[in-house]
């Protein structure tokens, strides 16, 4: 009986060792995967930071203005504020209805010596029924 018990205990210990090794190995592999993922996240963050910087560089107003003048033939012109940005509809929002300040915006732009241009603007598309 004692021999059976001993055998059983040794077998149990062996199984426990195997199970522990298995768990330990899985943990090690998981830790390795985690390290790889963390490494990748760090690298991606680093790449994103560089890309953001590059974007800021290529989208800099000085660069955009130079390109607009050189490639599109655009130039500085008189501008006037017709409405506040706050009044503009956001993507997915309904266009402003009639009689809103935005639809009735108008201004007089200086256009060179002694001349003015009157601007009266429906700034947004008419409201679509059912929207």
């Amino acid at each position: 009986m004692i021999r059976v018990m001993n055998f059983f205990c040794v077998a149990l210990m062996g199984l426990a060792i195997l199970a522990l090794y298995h768990v330990s190995e899985r943990t090690r592999v998981a830790r390795l995967e985690l390290a790889k993922v963390n490494h990748e996240i760090t690298r991606q963050h680093s790449d994103i930071a560089v890309l953001q910087t590059e974007w800021q560089h290529v989208a800099a107003p000085s660069r955009v203005q130079a390109l607009a003048e050189a490639k599109l033939g655009m130039s500085d012109s008189a501008s006037a504020q017709l409405a506040s940005f706050d009044l503009l509809p956001r993507r997915g929002e309904n266009a402003p209805l009639n009689n809103t300040p935005l639809r009735n915006a108008n201004a007089v732009l200086p256009a060179g010596a002694g001349r003015t241009i009157a601007v009266s603007a429906p700034m947004a598309a008419p409201p679509v029924p059912g929207m």
């Binding site: 090690r28 390290a35 760090t42 953001q52 107003p61 000085s62 504020q81 017709l82 201004a107």
Partner: protein
């Protein structure tokens, strides 16, 4: 029969057993370290970020540390040091002589080849197939907008320490933010849209009028936030050296100038606040000159025989202003300017600052001179700060380069609010009926004052026909939000200006253009109907 082991034999066996166990443990640890540990990839290496990002008030990047690599070599691994030095010099652009000298110096086992190696260069170096090369991760400070805000943002040295501008002035905040958040942010008060517009217009004007230098400032009069500061000539912060004609000097903060007639703003503020000027319709004799002792004060331009006080400011009469400030006297003028903060260096997050220059003896002639902006030299930033206090209801403002989220930071009451209101109306009158007409912008009620100062030469005498012109604008004048200051150092008249280089022809139009472009961006309401003026109500 075998004899039982003696005590010493047992001890030897136990000792040997312990040694075997110890060696076995060391062996196991060696296997673990050399075989297993190297496979787990170690911890993810965080990018080296010593400094947080600097952003403008809308989150646009002004400066960021980007990851680069520094290349080092261990010369003892090179078979042919001369060939290695030549190859590395060709691949990286380093000096071959320096490399060879370092490789042959036995005291340098680890030699820096090049800092901030780009991926292209790294590929070229790897292609050489040399042993003993190491790429150390490092960081490089990059300024995506280049020159646009170079003077105010400043630069860092190769070791990542700020050496000028906000990079130096905000160094503790930048380091603390980087430490706390890995890649944190420090939001400045600068608005890159406004900064670009100001830089563009000032640069164009500098070119057009062939000015030696130029600059501009846009400041929120209620929070003291500096939205834009331009100083030309500027420099490329992404290059270590300076191109021909470039300068790292921020003339708007660290230089002092006699600003001329824009200073009359303070003379009139003092006179109205002290009630030495009771009515803006009071008439003053102007004539051909105004004698003070042995000195005679002249006008820059032809003036009528008499002018009302209002027109003295609008037409920028030196003689009229002299008579007005002499009513208060030198001691009071000195006290008033000190009260407005004009006789002390202005303190901001910018390390660049300048001590004003003013007369040691404040007699009548000095009082008159200072009254129209000669004989006193202040930095443009200091001037703008005091001007903002005049128009913001008369309260002290402390300029800042940190974002304040529109917080009202107005402090101590410096002048009567009624004086501030009258001054705003007067400044509007200068633009509608005086020397600042070219700064007017439909719908934004611009007020302002021109300034054309003579330039002192090296011997202390004024240089003939050399001027420093400026325009200080405030908009919208009925509910002031921003001060726009534009400055040109020694502009030259053009055909378009009829040869005139005075501020009304050179500086005022730039201020108008800047306001026309920035007002919609800043959400300043467009008001087609002009505002009520104080002159419509009795003084």
């Amino acid at each position: 029969m075998r004899e039982a082991p003696t005590l010493y034999q047992r001890r030897i066996v136990i000792g040997a057993g312990l040694c075997v166990i110890a060696f076995a443990l060391v062996g196991l640890r060696l296997v673990h370290v050399s075989l297993l540990k190297s496979w787990d990839g170690g911890r993810a290496r965080a990018p080296i970020v010593a400094r947080a990002d600097l952003t403008d008030r809308n989150g646009e990047l002004l400066a960021r540390d980007i990851p680069v690599k520094d290349l080092y070599a261990r010369p003892q691994y090179f078979n042919d040091k001369a060939e290695a030095a030549d190859s590395l010099a060709e691949a990286t652009g380093a000096d071959a002589t320096r490399l060879l000298k370092a490789f042959e110096n036995a005291r340098h086992p680890y030699v820096l080849i090049a800092r901030r190696v780009t991926p292209d260069t790294e590929a070229r170096v790897m292609h050489l197939g040399l042993p003993g090369l190491e790429f150390e991760p490092s960081a490089m400070r990059y300024y995506p907008d280049g020159r646009t805000a170079a003077q105010v943002v400043g630069v860092t040295d190769p070791d990542g320490n700020g050496i000028s501008g906000l990079e130096l002035g905000l160094q503790p905040e930048i380091r603390a933010a980087a430490k706390a958040h890995g890649r944190g942010q420090v939001a400045t008060s600068i608005d890159m849209r406004v900064q670009f517009i100001l830089q563009h217009e000032v640069a164009q004007a500098r070119k057009k009028f062939s000015a030696r230098a130029a600059g501009g400032i846009v400041m929120d009069v209620n929070s003291g936030e500096v939205l834009a500061m331009v100083s030309l000539p500027d420099f490329d912060p992404n290059q270590r050296g300076l191109d021909h004609g470039d300068s790292r000097r921020n003339i708007m903060a660290q230089d002092v100038y006699e600003l001329g007639s824009v200073f009359k703003i303070f003379s009139f503020t003092m006179a109205l606040d002290d009630h030495t000027l009771k009515s803006l319709d009071e008439v003053f004799p102007i004539g051909q000159g105004f004698r003070i002792g042995k000195h005679i004060i002249h006008e820059a331009e032809h003036m009528p025989a008499t002018l009302t006080a209002r027109d003295i400011l609008a037409q920028s009469s030196n003689i009229g202003t002299s008579q007005i400030v002499l009513r208060s006297g030198g001691a009071r003028e000195h006290e008033f300017l000190a009260h407005m903060g004009l006789l002390d260096p202005v303190k901001t997050e910018l390390p660049e600052t300048a001590r004003p220059l003013y007369p040691t003896v404040w007699g009548d002639i000095q009082t008159a001179n200072v009254g129209f902006g000669q004989g006193i030299a202040v930095s443009p930033l200091s001037f703008v700060t005091a001007a903002a206090s005049v128009v913001n209801g008369g309260r002290r403002i402390t300029p800042t380069f940190l974002k304040q989220n529109g917080r009202d930071r107005r402090g101590q009451q410096l002048i009567d609010p009624q004086t501030s209101l009258k001054m705003r109306d007067l400044l509007r009158y200068v633009v509608t009926d005086g020397s600042g007409k070219k700064a007017d912008v439909d719908g934004y009620d611009v007020g302002g004052k021109t300034g054309s100062a003579q330039v002192a030469g090296p011997n202390g005498r004024y240089i003939p026909r050399a001027l420093r012109t400026s325009f200080c604008a405030v908009f919208p004048v009925h509910d002031p939000r921003y001060v726009v200051f534009v400055f040109l150092d020694q502009p030259h008249g053009t055909k378009e200006t009829g040869g005139f280089a005075l501020a009304g022809w050179t500086a005022a139009p730039i201020a108008g253009k800047v306001i026309q472009r920035i007002a919609p961006l800043l959400g300043v309401p467009y008001k087609p109907v002009p505002t009520r003026l104080a002159r419509e109500s009795p003084l």
